[in-house]
């Protein structure tokens, strides 16, 4: 489909967003509102020897100054309770919050922060995750054993979470190989970098608090506030105004409780707005740096006999939501290939860097980049074309995958065939141009999720949902699902959303799960109303409810369109009797079993509901004199099941590919020798611009998928962010003659690799 052929889909939140009338969190002002500022540690590792906030508290215009001593004694984080709201004794990264201030103006708050006295005994920063795994390494968390943690986690010292995937006999598999290829790849950390820096506003009325916040996960944010401030859920209301992007960077709970605590102490509403530098350095949502070591055994005919891998992930100072990352990364070190014997060990390791957290397809683009670069090395070693190699080894319908999951109908091979064909793979190209190809996979995340749907007495509809819109259009698409069930138009519905006090639970804009899970809930709720409408219509039209069809805003007898009644009339009748109310949550699909594989530290990631597949073919041009890479075009083919909203789906793929090109070429966090970030502005941390961006050609291999989302849909938002950097790498490797070993593949690194005659 070209752009102009994609069906029109105008977002319900669109007019707010193009006219400037839509409110984002930082746009909110409340009477008497104060400004919040945080005092950060500014050092990566140290012991607090003195903390004195007296001068700050005494300043005119300062209404609250809080430290660890002023909030409940609670450790939090989802799977390992390793964190407190404010630093306690030890600071573990440069952005650790030592104190918080609320004052009449941001300027006074800043002056008060400057007046807080903190002295440290500086400790040696622990910055290399591989060295930190050593038994002799100093510990980031001396008390790690005392933390409450999930019993399924395998932990030891700085290794916060360990997982392995094992199948067959890897040594026997390697012994059968004609060639054994080993490689090591290192990916730097990077950032989600949404254009809206985060903001939080909190206001207490009596013993209840309302928090407006730029979060992707309002219910998680509420849970965090309840846990840390020790409040029941019904006294905390989290509302998300329009959200200015997230990409995972705004998942999890963090600053809402600090602002709520300040507002309670000050007795006034308080607003926190991050600067761009804070957005880069403070949140526990950096994309993790990863070291990937891969060994593959292969026969001359191109069949893989074994894979051995070791993955080391830089956790940073706190676990945040990353305890499942090792297993997810391990899956990407295997990839969607038939591998009979495998042994993958994977761990996430504490360091004194900013904490990592879920950023769009966590671990996947980095490990996919490593694996797919390695796959091209393997294919080259046996003189096989890398696309042919993938077609030979890729999983397909009816096959048993590397972890023993049997696949229903999937479209990976079609993705590979179509993307490479459309890209002109194999044709002769001008000098210094190449096409690199990579494939990726990603799960769909099943979760509990709820929605109400109602029709009022004039027939106008409302969808009241707990789902969160972060820009993807997933919540906007819910109107289409309700309209289809009720024979109405999407614009007949308004959506009430991202407010924990009105909508039922939803996991939030995370895990590509909104349409998958909340879509099912909306369909279920709409079906209940449809049933009521058919009964009402059956009475009036003297027909059986089963013979009533809802279409074009009317209920009509099947086969007799003249025998019809407008839905608005039925809604009016219901308005004085049994109201038209539906509620849905449905049972989340269950992941299929894994057969014949063992997992230590299992996090439920070895078998996937609605597995998604992709192939990206990237055509690029390299200037060998400077090392500068220019991406010319990207052909992307995706199996994300049935596509419900084509325009939204294309938008997801296009945005993710541009993000992927940034990850490939320019986006990487640089640290100084003490572990502090060096590139914390958009001048130094380069995002792709309109002028940089190539043409993107997307095709969907639509496979109806049972046991997934509504109408056979799978997730989509993260999958297209996985294979792009890998495809860029494979194009570059063809031109340079050897793979790039570090991500991002900056001009400087490319030039170095060329100069060294390959690595």
């Amino acid at each position: 489909m070209t752009t102009t052929e994609i069906p029109r889909f105008v977002r319900a939140d669109g007019p707010d967003k193009v006219t400037g009338s839509g409110r984002y969190t930082a746009d909110l002002t409340l009477t008497g509102m104060l400004a919040a500022k945080f005092k950060y540690s500014g050092i990566s590792h140290g012991r607090i020897t003195r903390l004195d906030v007296t001068a700050a508290r005494e300043m005119a215009g300062v209404l609250a100054v809080l430290t660890d001593a002023d909030v409940p004694d609670v450790h939090y984080d989802p799977q390992i309770k390793d964190r407190t709201l404010f630093a306690r004794d030890i600071v573990r990264f440069e952005g650790e919050i030592v104190a918080a201030v609320a004052a009449l103006t941001p300027e006074i708050a800043e002056a008060a922060v400057a007046a807080i006295i903190v002295e440290y005994e500086e400790l040696t920063p622990i910055l290399d995750p591989e060295a930190a795994m050593d038994k002799s390494s100093p510990l980031v968390h001396e008390d790690w054993e005392s933390y409450e943690a999930g019993s399924w986690l395998v932990r030891s010292g700085n290794t916060a979470s360990f997982s392995s995937l094992e199948r067959g006999d890897v040594d026997a598999g390697l012994a059968e190989a004609d060639q054994i290829i080993s490689s090591r790849y290192v990916a730097d950390g990077s950032h989600a970098a949404p254009i809206e820096p985060r903001a939080v506003v909190a206001q207490w009325e009596g013993n209840k608090v309302t928090i407006w916040t730029s979060t992707q996960v309002p219910f998680d944010a509420r849970a965090g506030v309840c846990e840390t401030l020790q409040l029941p859920t019904n006294r905390v209301r989290v509302i998300v105004p329009h959200l200015g992007g997230g990409f995972g960077g705004k998942c999890g709970f963090h600053f809402e409780a600090h602002v709520a605590a300040l507002a309670r102490t000050a007795g006034r509403p308080v607003r926190l707005v991050f600067s761009r530098e804070e957005e880069f350095t403070i949140p526990d949502r950096r994309r993790e740096g990863i070291v990937v070591e891969l060994t593959t055994g292969v026969r001359k005919d191109g069949s893989i006999t074994a894979r051995k891998a070791n993955v080391v992930i830089d956790c940073g100072a706190y676990i945040a939501d990353t305890a499942f990352f090792p297993q997810l990364a391990a899956m990407h070190a295997v990839g969607p290939y038939l591998v009979p014997n495998l042994m993958v060990e994977s761990q996430i390791v504490y360091t004194n860097h900013q904490p990592s957290g879920s950023v769009r397809a966590p671990t996947a683009p980095q490990v996919c980049w490593a694996l797919e670069s390695h796959i091209d090395e393997v294919a080259k070693a046996i003189n096989m074309d890398p696309v042919k190699f993938r077609l030979k080894n890729a999983v397909d319908t009816g096959m048993v995958g590397p972890l023993g999951q049997t696949y229903e109908e999937i479209g990976l091979r079609r993705c590979i065939q179509q993307a490479t064909e459309a890209a002109g793979y194999g044709q002769e190209l001008p000098e210094n141009e190449a096409i690199g190809v990579a494939i990726g996979w990603w799960p769909s995340f099943a979760s509990a999720s709820g929605s109400y749907v109602k029709l009022d007495d004039d027939g106008a509809g409302q969808i009241i949902t707990g789902a969160q819109e972060c820009g993807t259009g997933a919540v906007m698409t819910l109107r289409q699902l309700a309209a289809d069930e009720l024979g109405m138009k999407p614009e007949d519905f308004e959506i009430i959303y991202q407010d924990t006090a009105t909508g039922p639970y939803d996991m939030g804009a995370t895990g590509s799960q909104t349409l998958l899970n909340n879509g099912r809930a909306v369909v279920e709720a709409s079906q209940q109303i449809a049933e009521q409408l058919r009964e009402l219509a059956a009475d009036r039209l003297e027909a059986a409810p089963a013979d009533i069809v809802l279409a074009d805003g009317k209920a009509q007898v099947a086969g007799s369109p003249e025998s019809a009644v407008p839905l608005s009339k039925l809604a009016a009748i219901a308005g004085s009797g049994k109201l038209l109310l539906g509620h849905g949550s449905g049972s989340p699909p269950v992941a299929p079993p894994i057969v014949g594989a063992n997992c230590v530290g299992d996090q439920g990631m070895a078998s996937w509901v609605g597995p998604q597949f992709s192939c990206h073919a990237v055509r690029l041009r390299l200037d060998p004199e400077t090392g500068v890479t220019r991406v010319i075009s990207v052909h992307a083919d995706h199996d994300s099941g049935t596509i419900i909203n084509p325009m939204g789906a294309h938008g997801q793929v296009e945005g993710a590919i541009i993000m992927g090109i940034g990850q490939a070429l320019t986006e990487g966090t640089r640290y100084d020798e003490t572990g502090k970030q060096m590139n914390t502005s958009l001048l130094e941390y380069k995002l792709q611009t309109a002028a940089d961006s190539p043409s993107i050609h997307t095709q969907f291999v639509e496979v109806f998928t049972e046991n997934a989302g509504p109408h056979g849909a799978k997730g989509l938002a993260e999958a297209p962010n996985i294979a792009t950097a890998a495809a860029v790498a494979n194009g570059l490797a063809k031109l340079i003659g050897s793979p790039m070993r570090q991500l991002p593949m900056t001009a400087e690194r490319v030039w170095d690799t060329i100069s060294e005659g390959g690595s």
């Binding site: 669109g14 193009v18 949404p194 992007g245 502005s681 958009l682 961006s693």
Partner: protein
């Protein structure tokens, strides 16, 4: 800070309305628009001239309002996103087209993007794709990958869409 010494009373003309404001001489236009005048459609993304979310027009020229002194705009015409639509019932073709082409996701870059596009179309009524891409290269978008925004600007240039009140679809 000695506000009394440096602050002065000025009139700022924003979207055709004259606003009396008392401002510090060093105050940037963005904070005056958002904080004093109450027009929050203009966004702050970086305070560093890098993202373009705060783009407004001053006498038709696009400027990053985060780094433009408010005092310098006295006697000049400022256009913000709130001043782009011809009336509350009607959108500008750029607004309609960016929405219909799928160029809006989270929407945070959208106001700045629309103002940059408007300035571009003023000086180059029929831009090539490359001219559009260069014209918008000061506006970062993290959601869309730009293609649909570029298409919307080209559609507008081609007059494919006239102003419409059809905002609720």
């Amino acid at each position: 800070m000695s506000n009394q010494e440096t602050s002065k009373s000025v009139f700022l003309n924003v979207n055709g309305v004259s606003y009396p404001v008392t401002i510090d001489g060093g105050r940037n236009l963005l904070s005056v628009l958002r904080g004093e005048i109450g027009l929050t459609g203009t966004k702050e993304g970086c305070d560093d001239c890098e993202c373009g979310a705060c783009m407004v027009l001053v006498d038709g020229q696009p400027v990053n309002s985060c780094s433009y002194l408010a005092a310098q705009t006295q006697g000049r015409e400022i256009t913000t996103i709130e001043g782009v639509a011809p009336s509350p019932e009607e959108m500008d073709p750029l607004q309609t087209n960016i929405l219909e082409a799928g160029g809006v996701q989270c929407g945070f870059c959208t106001p700045g993007m629309i103002l940059s596009a408007r300035a571009l179309l003023e000086r180059t009524p029929h831009p090539s794709e490359e001219e559009v891409r260069i014209g918008l290269s000061g506006n970062l978008c993290r959601c869309t990958g730009y293609a649909r925004i570029v298409e919307a600007v080209q559609r507008t240039a081609a007059g494919a869409k006239t102003a419409t009140g059809d905002t609720g679809q």
